[in-house]
């Protein structure tokens, strides 16, 4: 399999700041998503589905929940004697402070990278929801004789800083790279899944260190567009970039369309996650559930519409949950109503409360809050 020759590197904290409500207590990688997943599950599953056996997960801060989630890597078959999962916490040198960008992070794990025997390296962020065929990516990379292949999507550029936007020729070779351009047009923006030879990454990092470069996107990618064969590889099928609370909300809701769900939870490339051993969901007499995704362990006696319920959520009789996301072990007591609300883990909504937000601005209720 292709992956045996690739080492995977996942940036678990990438773009943490864009949904600070959810990442205040966790990393982007451990943000709960789609009833039973954490965002890192997509990057990890993509890698192992292509046969990648060595994955380093870079962390910066607040990575307790991430450690708890990935554990030894067992659910992804990454608990191995040889290779497997490596958690790479911040490596403190005089130049790495609390603020680690991508380049500084990579400098900190030069040891991990240089010790790897694999010929290729695949970089991935966690704020991207995507089921990617990495074998196809590798075939493309080889066929194009590319130095670096960047997975992109055509659409409106995400409202994030330093998003790589590719201008490509007919062959797919990048001729110009811009970073987060201000435009209303559809562009080919990077999903920050990047494949290159490990030796190239090492060289680029070393160069960047010697030139005192600070930025991955500007110096390693944009600055090399003329020197390297940088190619774009289009992600087909459903994918999304989490760029704000509103887009987090919207991306979850998009999965209520079974076609999107089929694309993302492709039977050939399953998405793995930590198991919780809940019983199947129970629908009580008089419950009403429409157009919703429901995880195991839920007990529903009330009304649920256009919503995403995580594991172990309880909706009591007379309670109404509409257009909302209720995370693990949330409790909505009788005659309470939620509309456009994102409810973090283990929140209790006591009886007769009404909470309402807007789709463009969902109300967020923090972890373990009792209302």
């Amino acid at each position: 399999m292709t992956g045996k020759n690739i080492v995977g590197i996942i940036f678990s904290n990438a773009y943490d700041e864009c949904i600070s409500e959810l990442t205040g207590i966790r990393t982007m990688g451990s943000v709960p998503f789609a009833c039973r997943y954490r965002l890192i599950d997509f990057a990890l599953s993509n890698m192992v589905n292509s046969g990648i056996e060595k994955v380093g997960v870079l962390t910066k801060s607040n990575y307790q929940s991430l450690m708890d989630h990935v554990g030894t890597g067992k659910p992804w078959d990454l608990s191995r004697k040889n290779d497997g999962l490596f958690i790479l916490p911040p490596f403190s040198t005089n130049e790495t402070g609390g603020n680690r960008d991508k380049l500084t992070s990579l400098k900190g794990i030069m040891g991990f990278i240089s010790r790897a025997d694999e010929e290729y390296v695949l970089l991935s962020d966690c704020n991207v929801v995507l089921n990617l065929d990495i074998e196809a990516l590798m075939d493309y990379h080889t066929a194009k004789n590319a130095d670096m292949t960047i997975v992109y999507k055509n659409g409106k550029v995400p409202a994030l800083k330093d998003v790589i936007v590719l201008d490509m020729n007919d062959d797919g070779k990048a001729e110009k790279v811009t970073l987060s351009p201000v435009t209303e047009e559809n562009v080919n923006f990077s999903l920050n899944v990047i494949l290159m030879k490990k030796a190239l990454l090492e060289r680029l990092i070393n160069e960047a260190i010697s030139l005192n470069h600070k930025d991955f996107e500007t110096d390693l990618v944009q600055g090399n567009v003329d020197k390297l064969n940088i190619y774009g590889f289009e992600a087909t099928g459903y994918s999304a970039v989490i760029e704000s609370m509103a887009s987090y909300f919207k991306t979850n809701m998009e999965l209520l369309n079974p076609d999107n769900c089929d694309d993302l939870f492709n039977n050939d490339r399953p998405v793995y996650t930590k198991v919780r051993d809940d019983m199947p969901a129970i629908y009580g007499l008089g419950s009403s559930v429409k157009n919703s995704l429901i995880a195991d362990g839920c007990i529903i006696d009330g009304t649920v519409e256009n919503s995403i319920l995580f594991r172990g959520v309880r909706v009591e009789k007379g309670a109404v949950v509409k257009n909302s996301i209720v995370m693990q072990d949330g409790f909505v007591a009788q005659n309470s109503t939620l509309n456009c609300v994102v409810v973090d883990k283990s929140v209790v909504i006591t009886p007769n409360k009404t909470l309402s937000g807007a789709e463009s601005y969902p109300v967020y209720i923090g972890k373990e809050i009792v209302i």
């Binding site: 079974p258 998405v271 019983m279 199947p280 969901a281 629908y283 559930v289 919703s292 995704l293």
Partner: protein, 405 residues
Amino acid sequence: MARKQECIAMLLAGGQGSRLGILTKNIAKPAVPYGGKYRIIDFPLSNCVNSGISTVGVLTQYQPLELNDYIGNGQAWDLDRANGGVHILSPYQQIKGTEWYKGTANAIYQNINFIDRYDPEYVVILSGDHIYKMDYNKMLEYHKEKGASCTIAMLEVSWEEASRFGLMILNDDNSISEFEEKPKNPRSNKASMGVYVFTWSKLRQYLIDDEADPESSNDFGKNVIPKMHADGEPMYAYLFDGYWKDVGTIDSLWEANLDLLNPKVPLDLSDTSWKIYAKTPVSPPHYISVDATVQNSMVSEGSRVFGNVDYSILFNNVTVEEGADVKYSIVMPGTVIKKGAVVQYSIVAENAVIESGAVVGASPEDCANRDDWGVAVVGAGVTIGEGQSVAPKTQVSEDVVKEAK
């Protein structure tokens, strides 16, 4: 050498469960799916782990492939241990020849070496036939307190049902005075649950003696336990009061599943202090569409419901298409129920296809003669063709297509 363990469990999982008909055609009874995501064996295995018993020998014989594959290294039940853990024990070749497990006692006899490795004081003998949550450790404490050689878990059943069970007549101190095997006129309603605690040194000797007896059928219930009783070994009954169900027949399997939907039945699978573990398939959350109605039912991950589901249990990756009706039924993993099909009072096994307009089973009210009514069963991988029907109380293990009726 394994480290000494105070108590280990031996789980008898070799039975065919022939009364489950086509459901056990290719799998052993303990591997039969139950409750939306479990298999029967998840209950004794989870009980062991939750009771602090971390060494479990699982004795398999009949169609073990699926069961062996399911148990794997025991990781799903936290039984992948450096010391102990779960072990699959199949009959094996020995110097004097190869023998199948002749009876329940012989199965344990053939694995004396396995048990001796852990040098246990006590052995719990379980079967993979029942749905119940039980703390074996409490029973073990009781066994020690009574200084028993053998303790048998018992349950009070209704007097009407009593004649279906192996019964015990007890003295005031709960020691066992007499056994009665499925008597016509029961004198007791205290039924054995098939859960035993033995003092290993005693049981070991009885197993050796039993094997040496050519007259014996090498069965716990028929030979070993009566012999211990006749010899005056201290034997006690341990009262269990909770939900316990033998799922040995199609009807009882169907009922035991639907019991999960009855709030009055004391079997709570959401209790986090006594979780029932299972190997969880990799499936996305389940989806209920705008047009679907789901009432009083259990739905597992990966399923998609566009039709109506009432008083039913859907396992993972089941699809119920628009306008299809599923009532009072158990639908096992991967099955597809197409547009306008009706599945009622039925058990549909894995990966079956019910084509549109097909009708499986019937409600008791629709049967002119009540004796004609029973749970309909569709076997694994079977297709019920467009517009075809499966009568109540029948089992279908071959595709039902046009012409053939």
